[in-house]
């Protein structure tokens, strides 16, 4: 006799369950799992946290950012890559749906810049839905993350970039602060 699960599933309940990854303690029959660590909530952590929240120290996740900032019409384009400085592989949130995983804010002379929400990165499929994507980054390896655009004055010389990066098993998103000189116009 086949047992049918009588729990009340709906699209909404399953979508909510999907948005919060399941705990790694599931076992089915003879297949025993090795890892029972709880999972983070990637979608919530992909949003910029409250300025009053204490982010985890950068050393907790051992990441180095690399920014390339180019001037373009109406603003700047900032491209982010991250290096895993630890001795172990990490799972890095690199995308949530069509958006890059890390939340990024930009400032010029202390004034925040308005983000321009566009995506110019082609993926394998034309539709990606809301799913988070974690990249497995080897020890000491670089990982391309994504591109961010901000409205900025034509004479902006240096931009402060703050990225909140989610790493699996880290207690909180890691805040990485960089001061980057604005380069030449893209394509020039």
């Amino acid at each position: 006799m086949i047992h049918v699960d009588r729990r009340k599933f709906t699209f909404g309940s399953l979508f909510a369950a999907f948005a919060v990854p399941a705990a790694a303690s599931d076992t089915v029959g003879r297949i025993a799992e090795l890892d029972e660590a709880p999972q983070p909530t990637p979608q919530a952590q992909a949003q910029a946290p409250s300025p009053y929240a204490d982010p985890a120290p950068a050393a907790a996740a051992a990441l180095t950012p690399r920014w390339t900032v180019e001037r373009e019409k109406g603003g700047i384009k900032a491209t982010l890559a991250l290096r895993n400085d630890s001795d172990e592989a990490i799972d890095l949130l690199v995308a949530v749906g069509r958006r890059p995983g890390p939340a990024v804010s930009a400032f010029v002379d202390g004034a925040s810049l308005e983000a321009i929400a566009t995506v110019d990165r082609r993926d394998m499929m034309s539709r990606v839905g809301p799913m988070p994507r974690f990249a497995l980054v080897a020890a000491r390896a670089w990982q391309d993350v994504g591109t961010y655009r901000f409205a900025a004055a034509a004479d902006a010389r240096e931009v402060e970039l703050r990225a909140w990066v989610t790493v699996e098993d880290a207690p909180a998103p890691v805040e990485l602060v960089s001061f980057v000189t604005v380069g030449a116009k893209a394509g020039a």
Binding site: I2, T27, R30, D35, D91, R98, R127, P130, P132
Partner: protein, 320 residues
């Protein structure tokens, strides 16, 4: 009855290899369009009409592919008829995923260039495969639940719209709200649409066998990728270079995206894709082998995967 004859060995091998390699996206249809549209290297913007989405939902104003929409609309009744015939009466969530996988795999055993009906079926099913896989992987027991129990057509559309499932990196889904609701009704067995299986699908060899092979390939891919990810994460990456898993860890096939959306996902979650006790025997054996020999590295797992898909290609699906 669907399927003019069983799959020949060469056709089954082409089906298995095509899913493993993701080859269908680069196939070209009789209109000269790649099945993968914007995600294909052969996509030509000069032959594609893009317009601002006019629909009154979250997609409004975003770029959408009108040329692909015209293709789908031209054979829409055939698409609905095929999906409804494959789904059958009272389909479960697993069956819905099985239907989507069958439609993704179908062009791999069809004629070249690919008939427009099969190309349109592929494009429609690719999105459905992602959504249904995500539903299955969300919890234990979803596979055996009737799809219609999750909600009606309006609930399904709201699920897609609210979750931005209709958005892509570059373009949004071009299907209208009524079309998406009609497709759900066909998939959920809510009344039979006028007309039966589309002629191009009806002319294919294999019929349901395409689905049986397809879901076993995807099950093996899921088991291999999940196990390899955990092995690499634990420092056993030897043999990863050049393997399918290395490629999929960076860019997973659309039908595996939900699987890798959870970092370090338990291997047992792969069984959620199938009814209780109904996983293909090769998939169940692969998972059991992984559990019994957790010390294996990426190379060992890659060899096990290659052996399993080769056996499937030669001998076909095993009976549970």
């Amino acid at each position: 009855m669907i399927g003019v004859r069983p799959l020949a060995a060469a056709e089954r091998a082409a089906l298995v290899d095509g899913l493993v390699d993701g080859a269908a996206a680069e196939l070209v249809d009789v209109d000269g369009r790649p099945l993968g549209e914007v995600s294909s290297a052969a996509y030509d913007p000069a032959t594609t009409e893009i317009a601002a989405c006019p629909y009154a939902d979250r997609r409004r104003g975003e770029p959408m592919n009108l040329t692909a929409l015209a293709q789908l609309s031209g054979c829409w009744r055939a698409l609905l008829g095929t999906v409804a015939a494959l789904a059958g009466p009272s389909p479960t969530v697993h069956r819905a995923w099985w239907v989507a996988t069958t439609c993704i795999a179908a062009p791999l055993v069809g004629p070249r260039p690919v008939p427009v009906e099969l190309a349109a079926l592929y494009k429609t099913a690719l999105g459905l495969s992602q959504a249904t896989a995500a539903l299955l992987l969300a919890d234990d027991g979803v596979a055996d639940v009737p799809l219609v129990a999750l909600g009606d057509e309006d609930a399904f559309f709201a699920f897609l719209d609210d979750g931005e499932w209709l958005f892509g990196q570059v373009q949004v889904c071009a299907g209208s709200g009524p079309q998406i609701r009609q497709m759900y009704a066909a998939l959920a067995g809510l009344g039979a649409p006028v007309g039966g299986v589309g002629p191009a699908f009806a002319a294919l060899p294999g019929g349901p066998e395409i689905g049986a092979v397809g879901v076993e390939v995807v099950g093996l891919q899921a088991a291999y990728l999940t196990a390899t990810r955990r092995a690499v994460r634990a420092g056993r990456a030897e043999g990863l270079d050049g393997s399918p898993a290395e490629r999929w860890l960076q860019t997973p096939p659309p039908w595996l995206r939900a699987l890798v959306a959870v970092p370090n996902r338990p291997i047992a979650h792969v069984l959620r894709l199938f009814p209780a006790g109904g996983a293909p025997p090769r998939v169940a054996r692969f998972l059991t082998d992984v559990a019994e020999r957790p010390e294996r590295d990426a190379g060992d797992l890659g060899r096990a995967f290659a052996e399993a898909v080769a056996a499937l290609a030669v001998r076909g699906p095993e009976r549970a």
